[in-house]
Amino acid sequence: MTEPAVRLVFEYDGDEVRMLSQQRVELTIPSAGEPAAGWRAELRTAEGGVLDRRGLPWIPLDAEVFAPGVDGEPSVRRVPAERRTGVFTVLVPDLPEADHLALVDDAGGPPETRQVREILRVPLRAES
């Protein structure tokens, strides 16, 4: 269903994250699956209630490298990132009760010992 949405673009270098843009757009937002461990975005009310959660599976500690499978190269392998750096987008519904977007790092593991760390909080602009 078409709905008002906000697209945010971020740049990161290690744990330093910076918002590049925030844009309102009318589109159909894909359903959000259960976020995996790692980074995710949470759309929150001013009181901290979570309205929407989006996993950010493309923020890896490593990169996926494919090869055509000749000359003894593995057809797929992962190589650790020299620097964890890149860009990502977050698409969330534009809800009147939404106050800010938080980026968090979820260490994963069993719920009782799971550590979730907030990285950045970005206020949502009234107009953009």
Binding site: G33, W58, V79
Partner: protein, 353 residues
Amino acid sequence: MTTADGQVLGVTRVVDHGPPAERWNLVILGDGYRANQMTQYAQDAARLCVRLEATRPFDSVWAGLNLYRVDVTSTDSGADDPAACGGPGTTARTYFDASFCNNGARRLLLVNQATALSVAAQRVPQFHAVVVIVNSQVYGGSGGAVATYSLATGAELIALHELGHSAFGLADEYESYLGCGIDTDRDHHPAAEPAEPNVTVNTDRATLKWRSLVAQATPIPTTRNADCTRCDPQPDPLPAATVGLYEGAHYYHCGAFRPQFDCRMRAIDKEFCAVCAQQIRRVLLPFTPAIVPDVREMRRSAAHQRVVAAGLVPRYTGATGPSAWVRSQSPAGGRTVRYGSEVTMQLRSGPIP
């Protein structure tokens, strides 16, 4: 090396299934194409469209997708291919600054992602995913916020796999990290259940994530790896495409399981398994236009079907059926039409079932 090394010429909706606000929109960008290579770029982009449409399960939800080709020129042809990774050491002045040899791996082909996302957002504000085709014959590609691939044979499959991660939330199903025969610390997967729908540590048939796709006669687990210090060498003991519980997944030899013996999330030249296909369909179905439930008469021309219909035009909700032959439809689903209303569908070839 920068946006000074070329220009954005324009955008063409190369696969058009209706209003972008209602469709899942894929943006195709090109890097390392000179102005006199735009015809070749259009052909390369068209090949990606054909490949995607022929790929299960995109074929069954094709009417939910729009594909856009953004024409971008570069000063030079190709991409940087540094000598440090065994390349010839060539540099190319290109708009998105495509370069092989990232993280010490020649085949890791990256572009300036911020520029790619910015161009995509300017030209197609409703975009959902971005793929950059790099005009080089050296095999390479990458995933992330922007997927890339080169023109080497089969490299476009990298983009399909990477969309599996970034657009559909799928995990890797391969059982190695640095590679089979190289890893020494990938024997047992941690006990925590991964969130992704296509890998699990759970061996209980009653609570298995993909239990609805497992036949009663299929043993659970379906395979076990007899030697957790290495990748499992055994062939598939069951008929191809059986959904079960195969040990070896998510970068570990043992303790993590995948749904089928083969999948594009395990080896990119294979089809998506049934569980991954179901997840992709689940994401794309809300974008797929409707079918008409109560068809009173039909008239057909070469490319269009005109239908006189009544009732609610529903959104398509099945895995098979008319969306396999309806490319697009007007009006879109979710509206009530009066008897006598004309609904126009653009069809694939072949008879209507």
